[in-house]
Amino acid sequence: MEEEVKAPVPEQEEYVINMGPQHPSTHGVLRLVVSLRGEIVRNVEPHIGYIHRGIEKMCESIAYPQIIHLTDRMDYLSAHINNEAVCLTVEKALGIEVSDRVKVIRTILSELTRIQSHQLFWATFGMDLGGLTCFFYGLRDREMVLDIFEETCGGRMIVSYNCPGGLMNDIHPNFQKRTKEFIKYFRETLPEYDRLLTGNVIFQERLKNIGTVTREQAIAWGLTGPVGRASGFSCDVRKHNPYSAYDRVTFNEILYNEGDSFHRYKVRMDEMWESMNIIEQLIDNIPEGSYAEKMKPVIKLPEGEYFQSVETARGELGVYIVSDGNKNPYRVKFRSPNFVHLAPLNLMSKGAKIADLVAINGSLDLIIPDIDR
């Protein structure tokens, strides 16, 4: 007998509003059932599944190279990193070592992806807090990264540039030149972001000590990426478990101990600088070599379980593949950071104001298709 699950009855004097599925600040089709008492949030209940496409189930009926194109559609702002995660898992299972050229290019593109994702975060976060001007500044600079992607990968946001064993094709001849131009430009432009938003008194007052998560809570809830690192949880996969070319570059893992919304924002701002450092170390020394290993026409993974995690712009993405030796996986599971980050929203925003809920939601930088998959 299945027991019918009933929604909790709101207490008297509680004012229940539905934030979403269509709401400007939920960045997609997230629905938050918010119980209010005046302006104060008593309880937040996320309802997900409005953009569930069954990606994990679909993966079971398609071949490995095809899975890559589905992962673009999970966290669409980290599309390249998602692709890379699947490729790394498949390559690990087959025991293929890709050439240095592939590793370096993948790393550069991953960091470019991270920069453009954080740029969009900055743009939309400012908009969540009511400063509409940031949106245009963020998108203006993001366009340059997307142009680099367009030239090399063919796609702007949904890149699908990786394939098991390497890359779809070689980089565009302009790639290095344009990337260097972008880094030079963005090193001058990023301080402008700080002048517009970071130093603003209203902005800081809106965010400091709002939605605080302690280090213990962050570990207990499995918060990774900028959200975890703002609470002092050292969880950067690039540092602790380097993949691709991250073991040959030097960079700092950004850590703050405050764990509030402002420091989640700070982590992302500082990460953009680090990403530019990483790209600068690699862009001039892309080794020669083939851009893809020779693969069999039909890829079959040996029977077993394979796991690989990568650091997307939002946190740790884990790809877990169970193979029964066929050309399709038996089961695929994605450990997506956004799903995990949504869980403690209630914990963070209890007792806060409605405006704080929006700020906290923005500082988690949720991508709803990645939650539902």
Binding site: Y15, I17, H23, P24, S25, L36, E39, G126, M127, D128, L129, G130, G131, L132, T133, F135, F136, Y137, R140, L196, L197, N200, I202, F203, E205, R206, K353, I354, A355, D356, V358
Partner: protein, 362 residues
Amino acid sequence: MEFSIYDFSSFTAWIDSSLRASMSPGWAVAVEMILIGIAILIFYAIVGLFLVYAERKVCALMQNRLGPNRVGPGGVFQTIADLVKLLFVELVPIKNADRVLFNLAPFIVIVASFMAIGAIPFAKGLQAIDLNIGVFYLMAISSMGVIGVLLAGWASNNKYSLIGAMRSGAQIVSYELSVGLALVTMVVLAGTMQLSEIIEGQRWGWFIFKGHIPAVIAFVIYIIAGTAETNRGPFDLAEAESELTAGYHTEYSGIKFAFFFLAEYMNMFIVAAIAATVFFGGWMPFHVYGWDGFNAVMDFIPPFVWFLAKTFGVVFLMMWLKWTFPRLRIDQLLTLEWKYLLPINIFNLLLMAFLVLTGLHW
């Protein structure tokens, strides 16, 4: 009749005398009222459309964009096209809404801003009614708009709208105090509440220069509180599109929405016009005592140009604020008013009184 763009009083007197010559005094007043009403209505529409266009262009300037540039040269007819569109948009009836209040709310908002315009002196002699309590009247009328906002939020039968309306109520009631006290500070300096006399008192120096530090403080407070009172800029909590979708006017469509929209811009114009009148001398040109040649050049520029230039200068300042700052939270908004602006304001009022008593003002 001699007509001059420097002094409209002879023109208005001529209209009055020629009307009185052809009909009874009662009818003459009635006809004058209608004429003034039509004139204000036309002015209202033109300034409203211009402000919407100006806001788009200013915001585009701030945001690295071009703004409207397709309809007409530089997109000047864009707002007219939008207005036509709004006129044709369906008025969506809301289920379980309080029909009467729902339909009444936009009119209250727009009538409040409409009434305020009557008391604003646009140029010498170009003022519908010169009340001897002009400043007081403007303060009283400009706070009436909140009733419409509260009604809109309540009657919409929408939870977001209600929160927006409640926020707006708390906000306007609080910031009304600061606006009032900032103006009272200037009234102490001017010694009168009549707007024409306030302007006349600024013939040899605008009050912002005459009043030294207290006048500057009063101006800063007035701009902050005035922005809050018009529900704009960093204080647009009542609308707060990222929190409450559109706040109190979420459920309004078509021309009723346009009323709210227009009223917001006209309120901004009124706040700026009061600031220009009380702090920057209204239509009074910039004079320096003793520099007769310079004063003559300044006098050559017509008064209504001075008035509009000052007003739109303040409007630009308010737009600049809006497109730069993120929004405040409701508790911060109230803290700012009750813990900072109000004590500073009261102290400032005493300082100004001291200044005037000791004759230290210029």
